[in-house]
Symmetry: C2
Subunit: 385 residues, 2 copies
């Protein structure tokens, strides 16, 4: 039996997406070429762009295709920094490395940085962010949902407070900032992605978390906000990102988005509850990391006292259960997770964190199997200590 | 009848590459995940990396996967600039925009830039490059073959001269530069790609010019040369490029490389000669842009007096012939080509440039068809003036 519970790292690709990509790979033209081959690729690329824009209630020209969520995050942060040249940036202590590292680099270049702390469940307090805003704050970047512990941040509330704040600024200062960027990679499948309701200026999402292709990301850039490109060269993406358009991946992403079914995903909270309550019941000295409420419905992150997570993951693998260590992007890191440290997980629990992330394909039978295997695996690992 | 002659903008994907990508899309794991799903993706990604490394006589750890040739060029140039912080850069006037634009940006940040001019056929004189080297020259970037006019630059000779130059430096200065970057995107299918024989420190190539996938590029980075990443975040690609590895595109690229058949491509020079000599014979007031010798075997670039290239391309399209206007990456630009200006094309020929780029699928019948249609099309366009 194989149970794939690492969907937060990468979802399996939907067969209908695969089929669409296979079809679109035959559009051999370069979408930027001035001939019928290029035109066919361009027309379909632009149709996909329009469809993807509708999904977040944006306009087609507000969509910038990138090669990943990481590239989209980098583009937003460096793009704003390059525009303003100096200033103050606010973010949180639990962002993805593709937000924290660019911000860290900017700190070295003279930008002032404030990383807001989070509470024990990983929540950011919108008021704390507002209180940090200075005259020269150019960017606020807050993730929509945390990739390790599933905490859903109050983006809409932050957006609303920001709107109020900006409305009190003199007209001349309103275009200056603070601009609001949200990394929504983990949220796309489950949460409201309407950019106007969220009140964001930039929004990042990607294909590999929604049963779509790897190698494709999106940065929504609000109209009239000019930003400098990260990759320079050709005039693709209206001068905001150079490089031949990846037609097949773009069309695959559009297909993946059309297949998101928020109703169908309503089965997940029940499975999640069942999983969490039984783990806490069946295993001693275990801790749920992250909140009980306002948590992504596919995320379960637990810490197990007395064992390292690599041992457990290896044993689970032997039983056909594929789980994760918290974040694929830092899985080879020796340091304990910055997210778990930020929510104050006690030291004895820091090294035993495991993330189970459910997916569309997950059924109760899978969970029951894990609930049968996991206690034995932990017992075995503990006995070997 | 459809004749696709825009292979320098994008090659049609080989069916065997498509099949390999379709297969590898089922490797749903994240190559960076610590579980069997991730491991399977990782093992195959690393096998592909090793195969791609062998193709250029490099080591697997010298291969950095990017999302395009443009990204690879940007990574090399900004990576070196970020490493040295200041200094002198040498390049040529006919580079791809994804080289010229990053260098232009660095000029604005205090780097000193020299763009070497080329002769009337587009050739760079290696001595001219050597003569420009200063104590603080950190980077020399020269393309292997020009994307618009097919001129093959004397990379090996430049590499050799550079090696001699470096060998005379005091030991302490040898690691400082000048480092040698070559954009080989147009050359991969046809020319020697052995990095040691070429004497390069960085080499760029990509999938979409060799019948492989769009959305994948490679930057070869010589061992022990640490460069700063362009996209920051996770530790993928040994910390040189963040973002989930695009397994399917990487495996597709490896497949495409395995299918390069330099013997089979030997048919092209003959077709090219036939094409060029007949165009010059059949059409009056036409000019071949670029050299007769040391030219990519798939490239034909002609300028036609008295007509704009868009008119001709439209008419050719109507007859099923898909050609290009010189460069897909600048096809929507209003300015005449910087390459044609650099080789001194007279003004009256600047707006009528058309690039026919042959491919594996091209046969004599295709050329004969174009030779039949093109004179009529030009006559018609001229008569409408």
């Amino acid at each position: 039996m194989t149970v794939y519970l690492d969907n937060a790292a990468a979802t399996p690709i939907d067969n209908r997406v695969k089929k669409e990509m296979s079809r679109s790979m035959d559009l051999c033209g370069n979408p930027s070429s001035f001939n019928d081959g290029g035109r066919a690729a361009r027309v379909q690329t632009e149709q996909a762009r329009a469809q993807i824009a509708r999904f977040i209630n944006a306009r087609p020209e507000e969509i910038v295709f990138t090669s990943s969520g990481s590239e989209a995050n980098n583009t937003a942060i460096f793009g704003v920094a390059d525009k303003f040249r100096s200033g103050h940036i606010i973010s949180t202590a639990i962002e993805h490395p593709s937000v924290l590292e660019p911000i860290g680099k900017l700190a070295g270049e003279g930008f002032k940085i404030d990383l807001v702390s989070v509470d024990a469940e990983g929540f950011v307090n919108p008021r704390n962010i507002l209180n940090l805003i200075k005259k020269d704050t150019v960017l606020i970047s807050v993730m929509y949902a945390n990739n390790e512990i599933g905490t859903i941040e109050p983006i809409r509330e932050i957006g609303k407070l920001l709107k109020e704040y900006r409305s009190k600024l003199p007209l001349s200062a309103r275009n200056r900032g603070p601009l609001f960027h949200v990394d929504a990679c983990q949220a796309t499948e489950y949460l409201n992605m309407n950019v106007h309701e969220l009140g964001v200026d930039f929004l990042t999402f990607n294909g590999s978390k929604i049963y779509g292709p790897k190698g494709i990301g999106v940065l929504y850039v609000k109209r009239d906000l000019e930003i400098k490109p990260l990759i320079l060269g050709g005039n693709q993406e209206r001068g905001r990102r150079a490089g031949t358009e990846n037609t097949a991946a773009i069309l695959g992403l559009a297909k993946a988005i059309s297949l998101i079914n928020k109703k169908e995903n309503k089965k997940l909270p029940k499975l999640q509850d069942y999983f969490i309550s039984n783990i806490l019941k069946k295993i001693s000295d275990v801790r749920l990391n992250g909140p009980k409420k306002n948590r992504l419905p596919n995320n379960i992150n637990i810490s197990i006292f007395g064992v390292g997570n690599e041992e457990i993951l290896l044993q689970l693998d032997k039983h056909g259960i594929h789980a994760g260590s918290g974040s694929a992007c830092t899985s080879h890191a020796v340091e304990p997770s910055h997210v778990l440290k930020a929510i104050g997980v006690p030291k004895k629990y820091l090294n035993g964190a495991i993330r189970f992330s459910l997916g569309r394909q997950t059924i109760k039978k899978d969970i029951d199997y894990v609930l049968k295997v996991l206690p034995k695996v932990i017992e075995k690992c503990r006995s070997l200590r």
